[in-house]
């Protein structure tokens, strides 16, 4: 068995070493493994998922309150799978497309629809105006629903219907020219003006359908917004009542499923492994990584090892600030709320958007509501995970207050510090690029579309060509 010594095997080196088992990194290592690369995947935590892991309740108590003993002995503890970063998949989005082409990932993870998508509407200006009809309203998913929605007034309904039909008939493949307009030039604001849409209508089209978290898009060309609205509509059309799907047992099952894909294609996995540093060649490019890990043959004994590789993919937490990563300037605040009741008017699994305009903010607040239907908590409990981009440094609790008020009685509330969103500082274009490819932090949006954008971007940087998902399907099934 000497030649099968796993440590000897590590010493042979790898085509790519991947650090961090967040979704971006695991999709990439899955893809690279399917393509035949020799991949080593490391995580410093003893679990998969990195910042995007789904934790047990006991782990959440330990993480946010330092209460290590709390509820670990509770037999129900294993029924909790609490996302640190809650997000949904667009049913017709890119990630779903990737999953559809990789049967082996689907074998490992099951999806269920999210039943509703809701938007908060304050009456008489502000959430404190308790007298009005403040509350959540279902987002219309198509022109027909829009025509019956209580979100818009009678006169506005016709205009909205016209607008949505106009967007629905656009086909991005035929380029930016559409019915005499150049969508790469024309601003979204101008298009709204042409259809005479009221501010409130623009608000929910932009925030609840195109899923922008601020109003910046109004002054940008219309084409991306058209595509986002179309994605929303085609996603709703797939399974019914909302555009979202979500994996059973929490979002953390997605990275796990991709690690299995990678392993099935020969990837090597090491959790609980500390990265001690990078090694560089004379050409200033990375030549290896130094790691410390527990010897698989001797419990409790640690080995330092340099592993040769010419390329590294790393999550932001594995590289130092400065040369390799910089803050985007956006910090996200999140609160995990445990409830014993569904959210009023929004059911037991849904997305609620509180648009910035309704509460005097610049950024929307998102609430992901989940229940035991998705196996994220025991029966009788509900999870509501609230998030937004921080606008003030002082009091995150206060910033999320409008959401807390919507939720009613909260059994437990867990809040950490705002998390910094990172992005890579250098790129392949620079002359002395070191071949360490850094992913972005998962963004503040409510879905995973930007994650797959990052996967495609990193793939292009690494391989010098576009990721061809159909090709991947052929390779993966040619086993």
């Amino acid at each position: 068995m000497e030649e099968h010594d796993p440590v000897e095997d590590l010493k042979k080196g790898f085509d790519v070493v991947v650090m961090g088992t967040g979704l971006t990194e695991t999709i990439l290592s899955g893809i690279l493994s399917v393509e035949g690369k020799r991949v080593l995947h490391i995580d410093k935590n003893p679990y998969y998922g990195g910042d995007g892991a789904s934790l047990k309740l006991s782990q959440v108590f330990a993480k946010f309150r330092g209460e290590t003993s709390k509820s670990t002995n509770d037999p129900k503890d294993k029924d909790w799978n609490i996302d640190l970063i809650p997000k949904f998949l667009m049913a017709d989005g890119e990630l779903a497309r990737i999953l559809r082409s990789l049967q082996q990932v689907q074998d490992n993870v099951q999806f269920q629809q999210i039943e509703g998508s809701y938007v908060y509407r304050a009456h008489s200006g502000g959430i404190l105006g308790l007298g009005g009809h403040s509350g959540v309203i279902k987002v219309p998913s198509n022109a027909l629903e829009a025509a019956t929605s209580s979100l818009v007034g009678i006169l506005e309904k016709g205009r909205l219907k016209k607008f949505l039909e106009f967007v629905a008939n656009y086909d991005d493949k035929s380029g930016p020219m559409y019915q005499g307009k150049n969508l790469d030039k024309e601003l979204m604001k101008t298009i709204y003006d042409q259809f005479g849409l009221e501010t409130a209508t623009r608000d929910f089209v932009g925030h609840a359908m195109a899923l922008y978290s601020d109003d910046g898009y109004l002054n940008l060309p219309a084409r991306p917004t058209f595509n986002k609205i179309r994605l929303y509509a085609s996603s709703v059309a797939m399974y019914g009542s909302s555009p979202y799907i979500y994996p059973l047992y929490g979002l953390g099952d997605l990275p796990s499923a991709f690690t299995r894909l990678s392993a099935v294609h020969g990837g090597t996995y090491m959790l609980n492994t500390e990265v001690l540093g990078f090694e560089y060649g004379a050409d200033k490019k990375v030549s290896g990584v130094k790691i410390k890990f527990e010897d698989p043959k001797h419990d409790g004994q640690f080995i330092d090892l340099v592993i040769n590789t010419s390329r590294v993919v790393a999550a932001p937490e594995y590289v130092p600030e400065g040369k390799k990563k910089v803050p985007t300037g956006q910090n996200v605040i999140r609160a995990i709320c445990v409830l014993k009741h569904p959210v009023k008017d929004a059911g037991d699994n849904s997305q609620i958007i509180i648009p910035q305009s309704q509460i005097g903010r610049k950024n929307d607040i998102y609430i992901a509501v989940l229940s035991d239907k998705h196996h994220v908590c025991p029966k009788g409990y509900f999870l509501a995970i609230v998030s937004t981009i921080a606008e003030r440094g002082d009091n995150p609790q206060d910033e999320l207050k409008p959401a807390f008020e919507l939720l009613g009685a909260i059994e437990e509330k867990f809040m950490g510090n705002a998390s910094i969103l990172w992005e890579p500082a250098d790129s392949v274009e620079i002359e002395d690029f070191d071949n360490i490819f850094v992913s972005k932090s998962l963004d503040a949006s409510s879905h995973l579309e930007s994650c797959t954008d990052d996967v495609k971007y990193l793939y292009r940087c690494m391989e010098g060509k576009d990721l061809d998902i159909d090709d991947l399907k052929k390779t993966a099934s040619a086993e």
């Binding site: 559809r100 074998d107 269920q112 299995r260 392993a263 090597t268």
Partner: protein, 251 residues
């Protein structure tokens, strides 16, 4: 093969767990292909194999999941065993430390897997022992069939030339305490191998079988509670396209 009417047939996910080189893949190879390889390479890159097990009144189709190498550095994802209806936790009876590892996996399954999971503890490489149970001093010549063993208070001393490091009594006692099926096997000779799988098939409660999804629906949950995933409302079949290639390689 004669088929006396349509017997109900159900798929059952079975996962393999255990220290490296205890013979997990060899047991599967014996069960599925009735074959053995003397110097089988460590598993890197197995997906899963399927094998039918015919019972008198029903057919169980095992979907056998090998560990694909992820356990080599203790990095198996809970997802691997979460929806399993059955597990084969294997140790090498010539290596005491492998039983410790097996106990760790049993605890992990009891903590994380579906409540109704059927777990079989399997001591493999029985052919490497000269005597049958490691308890000959006090027990006399017991039969190779582990299930026939009883009485655990023997003399644990091993005979000089015997490679056995785990006595039948020790492992069996532990298995009884934890409510596990228990067998000693040899993937090399085939001893007790099909017996393990048949025992598992028999132990799977009928109620957990009914709720399995059809082809192309992904893996259904174990236990009836999660079985409504694809049948009921909200379940999503990502690739409505249908049949999947399940008979992937096992290396």
């Amino acid at each position: 093969m004669s088929e006396g009417g349509p017997k109900p047939s159900s798929s059952v996910k079975l996962v393999l767990l255990g220290e490296a080189a205890v013979g997990k893949s060899s047991l599967v190879l014996r069960f599925v292909n009735d074959d053995f390889q003397e110097n089988k390479e460590p598993t890197i890159g197995a997906a899963f194999l399927t094998q039918k097990c015919n019972l008198p009144n029903r057919t169980i189709k095992f979907e056998i999941w090998d560990t694909a190498g992820q356990e080599r550095f203790a990095s198996l994802a809970p997802m691997y065993y979460r929806n399993a209806q059955s597990a084969l936790v294997v140790y090498d009876l010539t290596k005491a430390s492998s039983l410790t590892k097996a106990k760790h996996w049993v605890a992990e399954l009891q903590r994380q897997a579906s409540p109704g999971i059927v777990i079989a503890l399997v001591g493999n490489k029985l052919d490497l022992t000269t005597q049958s149970t490691g308890l000959e001093g006090s027990m006399g010549g017991l039969s190779l069939s582990a299930a026939a063993n009883s009485g655990a208070d023997g003399d644990d001393d091993e005979e000089e030339e015997d490679a056995r490091q785990v006595t039948t009594a020790e492992a069996k006692g532990y298995a009884e305490e934890e409510g596990l099926l228990f067998y000693e096997t040899s993937a090399k000779t085939g001893h007790n191998v099909s017996e393990v799988f048949t025992a598992i098939a028999n132990a799977i409660p009928e109620s957990t079988l009914k709720t399995r999804g059809g082809p192309g629906t992904g893996r259904g949950g174990a236990g009836g509670s999660s079985g409504d995933t694809f049948g009921g409302t909200g379940g999503v079949n990502l690739s409505a396209a249908g049949e999947t290639n399940k008979d992937a390689c096992a290396c």
